[in-house]
C-alpha cells in the first residue's frame, strides 16, 4: 500500500522584489517546502503508520527540487522514500503542466492508493494542482480535508464544507488537499534530519514523461500590479486618545466615515 505526498519546493514571493517592468527578482529568496505542505506530510505519516503503508514524497520543479538540501528537508518530514522530477524546463511549470506530470509520475510509481497535497502553494496559490492530478488519473479529489481515518480502500475523510463539515467514505484511490489547520506538523529533529540522509531518493527524468499534451499560451508582457494610489498619510498624536481623535477627524473630513 502506497501513499504519496505531492509537495512543492518553492520560494515565498513575499521575499522577492519586483522591477518596474514586472520582472520578479528571486535572488534574495530561499526555497523551502511550501508553507501549507507540512500538514499533508503529518497526516500522511500518521495514516501510513496506522495502516502499514509506504509514504512516498513526490515533487516537481527546477533543478533545486533535487538539491541535497531539498531532498533532506522532505525526507526529514517522515517520508520512507522520495521521487523528484527536476528539470530546467520545469522551473515555473504551470498548474496544468504540474498536475499532468505528477499524475504520470504517480502512475509510474504504481500501486498508489492515496495522494495528499497541501492546501495551496506558497508561490502561486492557485489551489488547483490536486484537482488536475485527480482529473488526469480519473480519481475523485476533495479539498479542505481536516482528518483521515481507516485506510486507503476504506478511508474516512473529514472535510470542511459550507461552514460545517462532512464525513465521506472513499473506497477508491483519491487525491486529497489537506486544510492548513488540519494538524500541527512535527518539526523535524536532529535524528530525523540525520536519518533523512540515508533514505532512498530517486530522480525521475522528465524525458520519461509525456510533455506534449498541453495547450500553449504566450506571454505578452509582465508589469507591476496596478494598484490603487493610496494617500499614505500618517496620523499621530501625543497619546493614543489624541491619535484616535486625529484619525477619526481625518476619516470624517475625507468622508471615509
Amino acid at each position: 500500500m502506497k501513499i504519496v505526498i505531492a509537495y512543492k519546493w518553492a520560494p515565498n514571493p513575499q521575499d522577492a522584489s519586483v522591477g518596474a517592468d514586472g520582472t520578479v527578482d528571486w535572488s534574495r529568496t530561499k526555497d523551502a517546502i511550501s508553507d501549507y505542505d507540512p500538514q499533508a506530510f503529518e497526516l500522511g505519516r500518521v495514516l501510513a503508520d496506522a495502516c502499514g503503508a509506504e509514504l512516498i514524497g513526490l515533487s516537481l520543479g527546477g533543478p533545486n527540487v533535487a538539491s541535497p538540501m531539498a531532498k533532506k528537508a522532505a525526507l526529514a518530514r517522515g517520508l520512507d522514500r522520495l521521487v523528484t522530477i527536476a528539470d530546467d524546463q520545469l522551473s515555473w511549470a504551470t498548474t496544468t503542466q504540474t498536475g499532468l506530470l505528477l499524475a504520470q509520475a504517480i502512475e509510474q510509481i504504481g500501486g498508489v492508493e492515496l495522494v495528499l497535497c497541501g492546501d495551496s502553494s506558497v508561490d502561486t496559490g492557485a489551489q488547483l494542482v490536486p484537482a488536475v492530478i485527480a482529473g488526469a488519473l480519473g480519481w475523485p479529489a476533495f479539498t479542505d480535508v481536516t482528518a483521515l481515518s481507516g485506510q486507503p480502500g476504506e478511508l474516512l475523510v473529514q472535510r470542511v464544507h459550507a461552514g460545517g463539515s462532512q464525513l465521506i467514505k472513499l473506497t477508491v484511490p483519491a487525491v486529497l488537499a489537506v486544510a492548513a489547520d488540519a494538524t500541527k506538523p512535527r518539526i523535524p529533529g536532529m535524528k530525523d534530519i540525520l536519518a533523512a540522509g540515508k533514505k532512498p531518493a530517486e530522480a525521475l527524468p522528465l524525458d520519461q514523461l509525456d510533455t506534449t499534451r498541453l495547450a500553449t499560451s504566450r506571454v505578452l508582457n509582465t508589469a507591476r500590479p496596478q494598484l490603487r494610489s493610496r494617500r499614505q498619510e500618517m496620523v499621530a498624536g501625543p497619546d493614543a486618545l489624541a491619535a484616535a481623535a486625529a484619525l477619526l477627524a481625518r476619516l470624517r473630513t475625507e468622508r471615509v466615515l
Partner: protein, 303 residues
C-alpha cells in the same frame, strides 16, 4: 468565441457571466446539482444549460468526470468556473481533460484576433502578466452572486455516471452563521498584533460602533483558531472590496494584502513604523492596537 461556464451546485455565476460576455459568442453552462440550480442558471442569460439529473443529490466532486467529458465535447475556447472549493475540483478535471492552462486572479479578459488575451496576477499578486492563447483555457474566478434576469433557455439533460466509491456518511452543519464579507461596506481586520483573545472584545465593540464586520489574517483563523475560516482575508481566503478597510496589527504580508486591494480606503494601525502595509494605506497610525482600539471606542462614544 464559444465559452462554457461550469457550475457545481451553485447558481452564483454573475462574474463568470460578465467575463463570458466580454468575449462575446455562445455561452453554455454545464451544471451539476439540484434541478433548481439548473433552472436558476437557465434564466441568467446563458444560451444553453446542460445538466445531469443524476447529479441532483451527489457530492459536486463526484461529477468531475462528467463535467470534464461534457465540456470536452462542447469544445469551448474558454471555460469559466468558481474558485469555491468543490468547483475547483471540477475545473481541475476540465483542465486535465483539455490539457488547458488554468489561470486565477484574472483582472482582464478579451478576444483579440481569434485569440484570448488575459491579464492575471503572478505569484499571489506581486506582479501581473498578460498572455495570449488560442484556447482552450480555463479561468477560475470569484464567481459572485446568482443573477436571474431573463426568460429561461432550455435545460438539456445529459446523463451522468456518478464516480464510484464515494459515500457521504455524515454532514455536520455549520456551528455559526456564515458571514459574507464580500458584501461588507466596512471591515476591521485583525492580525497577529492582537496579542490576546481578550482584546477581541474591544475590537467587536469598535466594529459595532463603526457598523463594520470583523475579519482576520490567516494565522488568527488557522494557527490560533480565534476566527472561523469565512472571516479570513487573503490570497487563499476572502477577497473583499469594502469602502473602509481598517487593518489592526497586520504587517502587510503580500498574501494578506492581496485579499483587500479592492478596498476604497485602507487604514493601517501597527506598532512597527516599517511595516510594509503602511506603503499601501491611505491613513496610517503607528501604535499598539491594545491602546488605540479603546481610544477609538472612547472617542466614538463621546462624539
Amino acid at each position: 468565441m464559444k465559452t462554457c461556464i461550469v457550475a457545481g451546485g451553485s447558481a452564483g455565476i454573475e462574474n463568470l457571466l460578465l467575463a463570458a460576455r466580454e468575449l462575446g459568442g455562445e455561452c453554455l453552462a454545464v451544471v451539476t446539482g439540484p434541478r433548481a440550480v439548473a433552472e436558476e442558471i437557465s434564466r441568467s442569460g446563458v444560451d444553453q444549460v446542460i445538466w445531469a439529473p443524476e447529479s441532483a443529490d451527489v457530492l459536486t466532486e463526484a461529477c468531475a468526470g462528467w463535467v470534464a467529458e461534457t465540456v470536452a465535447e462542447l469544445a469551448p475556447t474558454v471555460v469559466f468556473g468558481a474558485t469555491r472549493a468543490s468547483e475547483r475540483v471540477l475545473l481541475g478535471a476540465v483542465a486535465a481533460r483539455l490539457g488547458a492552462p488554468v489561470f486565477t486572479m484574472v483582472s482582464k479578459i478579451a478576444a483579440a484576433d481569434a485569440e484570448v488575451h488575459l491579464t492575471h496576477a503572478l505569484f499571489g499578486g506581486i506582479a501581473q502578466q498578460s498572455v495570449a492563447t488560442p484556447g482552450p483555457v480555463v479561468v477560475a474566478m470569484e464567481a459572485g452572486a446568482s443573477c436571474v434576469a431573463e426568460t429561461g433557455v432550455p435545460i438539456v439533460e445529459r446523463p451522468m455516471t456518478v464516480m464510484p466509491g464515494i459515500t457521504l456518511v455524515e454532514t455536520i452543519p455549520a456551528s455559526h452563521t456564515r458571514v459574507d464579507l464580500t458584501k461588507a461596506q466596512r471591515i476591521i481586520a485583525v492580525g497577529r498584533g492582537c496579542k490576546t483573545r481578550e482584546q477581541l472584545a474591544g475590537i467587536s465593540e469598535l466594529a459595532e460602533l463603526l457598523d463594520a464586520e470583523v475579519a482576520c489574517s490567516r494565522p488568527l483563523a488557522e494557527g490560533l483558531d480565534w476566527f472561523t475560516h469565512d472571516r479570513y482575508i487573503g490570497v487563499t481566503g476572502q477577497h473583499v472590496a469594502p469602502e473602509l478597510y481598517l487593518a489592526l496589527g497586520i504587517s502587510g504580508q503580500l498574501q494578506h494584502v492581496v485579499g483587500a486591494r479592492g478596498a476604497a480606503s485602507v487604514v493601517v494601525v501597527n506598532t512597527d513604523a516599517n511595516a510594509p502595509y503602511f506603503a499601501e494605506c491611505d491613513f496610517g497610525v503607528v501604535g499598539d492596537l491594545a491602546e488605540l482600539v479603546p481610544a477609538l471606542v472612547q472617542t466614538l462614544r463621546s462624539s
